[in-house]
Symmetry: C2
Subunit: 206 residues, 2 copies
């Protein structure tokens, strides 16, 4: 079984790379599917789950709720519970024994016993801003400043969440097999190069 | 003309990767050749040039000579002069108009107008220590602790020297097209994957 994991900076095109890679390799692809499975298991709304996992850091849950009747501990516990559910979903996916590409969710750390090929995707700030602007959801009209703040925030949460699970920091080059800068690439043209690289990695292990 | 530059952590196998890549692509390869050319141009000993460029940071030249009659400024000026000579040698290499692989020397920054494909090579600390121990020069018997100190020192000098030339920090992922972790690879098996990746990059630009 070959598992390829993709970690990425927000706006770098990591998700598109993952999707196209799974298409090229004709294997399973997991991204928001995981959030839906976690929501189902927890009996919670998928939007709430996605928001809790992606948009709220650990510190700011404490800040948001400090001084109110809600205990910050409750919300942190709720996030921890969702992360544990997510871990379980990832393990179930791996237990299927099928080749797959998994985007995000710290799958590289959680599934390390399956010896996945781990990719980190980055891009220049300019390229990420441009990509986000071109692909903004309907009705979202963030200024460049707001977009930069959002990018920074989401990447910070990713780094924080990873820090709970691994000593190797999010984005730290030696924690991944390869770090790819998508700046200047058409993702379509990049995909076969990545597939070839990963294929040689798995071949070399035989 | 296709120029591939390789920046690397000490002990990561970046030089071997560069040499084998040039062999596979049947193109020119530059590494210590550059130091020899700089030495020749400066009328200095190649060993002295290599040592000055690689082993002495900016701060520690000042520290070493502070309090003696020698002015630190003189030694820093001498290092700057050697770096300028090195820049000139790199520009002469590029002006030949031939495909090549260049290891180190901040060639990615100096030759940026030639749109090189820029690779950063890293590895886990354990892998780097093992590699250095296996390939230690005759008569060098460093303890692991000494080796770690040497690795750290050389990489610090590389980072300092780069900082003089570029805003993008040494090793910063978005400053390179690809960052490759050689841990677990036989470099021989890795080379075709890298050649393929770089080839697709140059092709995509046409």
């Amino acid at each position: 079984m070959r598992i390829i994991t993709i970690s990425r900076e927000f706006g770098s095109g990591g998700r598109e790379l993952g999707k196209r890679l799974a298409d090229l390799l004709a294997c399973d692809y997991y991204d928001s599917e995981i959030v839906h499975a976690v929501a189902q298991k927890s009996g919670m709304d998928a939007g709430y789950v996605a928001d809790t996992l992606s948009n709220h850091g650990w510190q700011d849950m404490a800040l948001t709720f400090r001084g109110t009747l809600s205990s910050p501990t409750y919300f942190q516990a709720s996030k921890v519970a969702l992360l544990l559910q997510q871990k379980k979903v990832l393990e179930e996916i791996a237990a299927l024994g099928k080749d797959c590409v998994i985007v995000g969710r710290n799958a590289d750390v959680i599934l390390k016993d399956y010896a996945p090929f781990n990719i980190f995707v980055c891009a220049s700030t300019e390229a990420k801003v441009q990509r986000c602007q071109e692909r903004a959801p309907e009705g979202e009209n963030l200024t460049e400043k707001e977009l930069l703040r959002k990018m920074k925030k989401i990447d910070e949460v990713r780094a924080q969440t990873r820090a709970i699970m691994s000593d190797a920091a999010w984005g730290q080059r030696s924690a991944y097999h390869i770090t790819i800068n998508t700046t200047g690439w058409d993702i379509k043209a990049l995909v076969p190069a990545v597939a070839d690289f990963a294929g040689r990695w798995f071949e070399r292990k035989k």
